[in-house]
Amino acid sequence: MAAGVARAARSGMSGKVDGMPGAPALNLTAVSRWPRLGVALLVAAYLVGTWAVAHSSLNVQSLVLVAAVFGVLAISLDLVAGILGLYSLGQGGFFGIGAYLTAIAVNNGGTSPFVMLPIVVLVSGAAGVMIGAMSLRVSGLYFAITTFIFTLVLTVLATDLQVTGGTQGLLGPSFPDLPDGFAWVGAPVAWCILLALLIVVGLIWSLRRSPLYPVLLATRDAEPFAEAAGVRTAALKIGIFGISAAIAGAAGWMFSFLGVVSPGQFDWSVSLNILVMVLVGGINTTLGPLVGAAFVSMFPAIVNINPWLQEIVYGALSISAITLFPEGIVGLITRRLRGSQPPAHIRPEAETKPRLSPAPPATGATVAAGAAGAAGASAPARLEIAVECRGIEFGYAVGPKVLRKVDLVVRRGHIHGLIGPNGSGKSTLANVIAGRLHPMSGSVLLNGRSVDGISPSGRARRGMRRTFQAAQLVRELTTSQNVSVGLYTDLPGILRRAPVWPFLPSARRDMLRVQKKSADAIRAVEADAWADRKIADVPHGVEQLTQLAAVCIAGPDIIILDEPATGLSSREVDHLAAILSQLKAQGVTMIIIEHQTRFLLPLCDQVTVLNAGEVIVTATADEIRAHPVVRQVYLGA
């Protein structure tokens, strides 16, 4: 925490204290010297604590070590529940897999515990990937239910099988002793577990500081936005759940050294207790799961009364914690601490600042001039076709077809308008082109190649980006963090590097690049007054501009804009037109859905009019204005 504050103070951008507790993520320049020292001090203090535990009595050791194992489990759950919104009730099951595998293999086969660790991690990780792949095809609730059932089944198996010792369970193996002469180090099992906890905390801490963090939150809160930025969200979710499962399995490996391994320690109520730990401590915080795990696992030792009363008190405490403090202990404390700096105070000039002060590079590109001037500019590429739709048919399970035999040809470098009355199928067509909806027949070609069957993220990787009619953004992140999601495909090996991000020199360079690009993109759309505000606090028009910045930052070939001018003031609309002209001058092809024809038509090279799912006409803007049918069905004149 101290490290974060110090860094915030150092970073040049004023008043950057937003972001999640302990997760200032993007806005901070990787790790500069001060926080490094802070982190080093914290780690040193932790090692001293570990030393003390390793030399303490067995009672203290078991209390601390069990809490630490549950800390690892709680972190593994927070990784999926907090960061990805996947409420797994399978952690108990993976935990059990780890503990039983270790106990059985070491007790019966005499395998070395250290050989078992990678095996346990692989097996539980693979189980996690399988369950994730199976259950994530349906909704988040089904994920919770499926993982719940997984734990139920494992508990039943552990109870009924011979090899697991039934309800009695198995006596766990003892941790190997250190070689002679190293006895001064203390109990090796304490070092092992507490160092493992440190490593897991470090991984999550790094992840929260990497540019992957906004991407993960986008996958959680605004999946279409993440997909449109090229993120393979389904695979990402399954992969992260696999990692979470592997960590839970490793926790089971550690737990097996602490005594008896029996079904009751892994049943579904344990899974729920881990969730209690995460929620009580503070979901999606670095330290919350640890605080919660310490509280829950030490609770019976501290409150030493009649076991039934103790359970009743525990139940009452967990209900009151979740109803009265839904952010958890750590969430509450950080909000209190941050409460002294209200966000409005940070940039008091934000509302009053004139919007057009830093003149955009494309000065003088008035709406009309932009359209007329650019039309002749991109002559060489005109014949090439960027996007083509052939005979698209689309309909939902019931009702008439939404799109009927739609043909659309968008030439490279053109701005192609898509207009039509409400319900004429414009957004549906955009979704078909972007890959969110699959047509019943017909095909979409991108740069002359069919992209049928390619996911939205795959199309994004082929250079097509889009915005959404209803902005899809992460409300708890700042504008600039949201914009940085657009750079996902531009950061090689981001998945690999995220767990150790702050420690990589290359990552530091990348971070600076991400920050600079995000800042530039936001400045280009003139939303820089809002760059450090959370999306939850910005007006609708800024959300639209943020989407646009997130699209432009990736330098795409083709952009689909779904009603970009909605919610913008007339001055902002003018500015938007200037931005679009500028993009066109750079050779970007655009498909724009819009109702404000006064804004749209002057920009367009070609306009397609849809009505009731059919193309009425495709022509230049002037022809469209004069077209009798268009006047009748759409312009209403």
């Binding site: 409420y87 039943v156 969730l275 929620l279 979740i322």
Partner: protein
Amino acid sequence: MLQFILSGIAIGAVYGLIGMALAISFYVTRVINFAQGQIMMIAMMITATATAAGLPTAVALVLGILSAVIVAVLSYYIAVKPILAFNRFSFGWLVSTLGFAVIVENGAAYVWGPTSRPFPQMLNGLSLHLGNAVLTGQQVLSIAVALLLAAFFELVRKRTLFGKLGVAIAADPEMASAVGANTSLVAVVAFAISGVFAGIAGVLIGPDTFANPYLGHTYGIFGFIAMMIGGGTERPVAAMFGGLLLGVLGEGANALIDSQASDWFPFVVLVIILVVTPRGLFSGGGLWERAWRRALPARREAA
């Protein structure tokens, strides 16, 4: 063969009632009440206590079911409403309903002790011969009551304004409240109805199991499985079909595999069914319905 099918249906009817109780409260609030089994248990404990105090069986049964309704409504106010008020999409209810279950179960163990108490025998003394199978009167009662309740519920849901209100709230709570529906009241009533179902399930099974504070756990899980394999999350009555199937499969496993097979066999079935059709067998979009539609393409849903 006939014997295990019939006794499977009898026990399955009880699972189905608990499954429906879970499904009814889920239907309106999108919350799985993990305390449902404990609510059933309370009905059994109160009935047993009232009988022991010398009250007539009928009064004791009514008291038992009434207490289940009270606990169910309490669970709504304590464990569900505050969570939904904070965020309708949060999963905090996983914790709060479990916490409520922990309180009820351990409270019962604290008050009544962990041992089983005698339960009125009701119709357990009667026996009916059907071919070479024998059913107790209680088993026949279970089947009859469960099927009647399921049919009655479906009638209310489809044919009354209140039922349609429930459908509307299940589909879109915000929209429903925008057009004037009192979503909170409907939720309370749904929880009360779920209490009735769970309470009745408790007094139906009580003569066989006796009253024990820890029964709620087991029956809650079986009710949950019934709901999941049936597909009760989308159509409460499907949980009854799921329960009947679960009961028959469990008794069949005991008869045909070995006497402990009902401990694990239902779980295997559950996993297989969820892999094949994640939304359950008898839900709207489930396997059964799809097969049915394919077989009878001309059939159109009037509603």
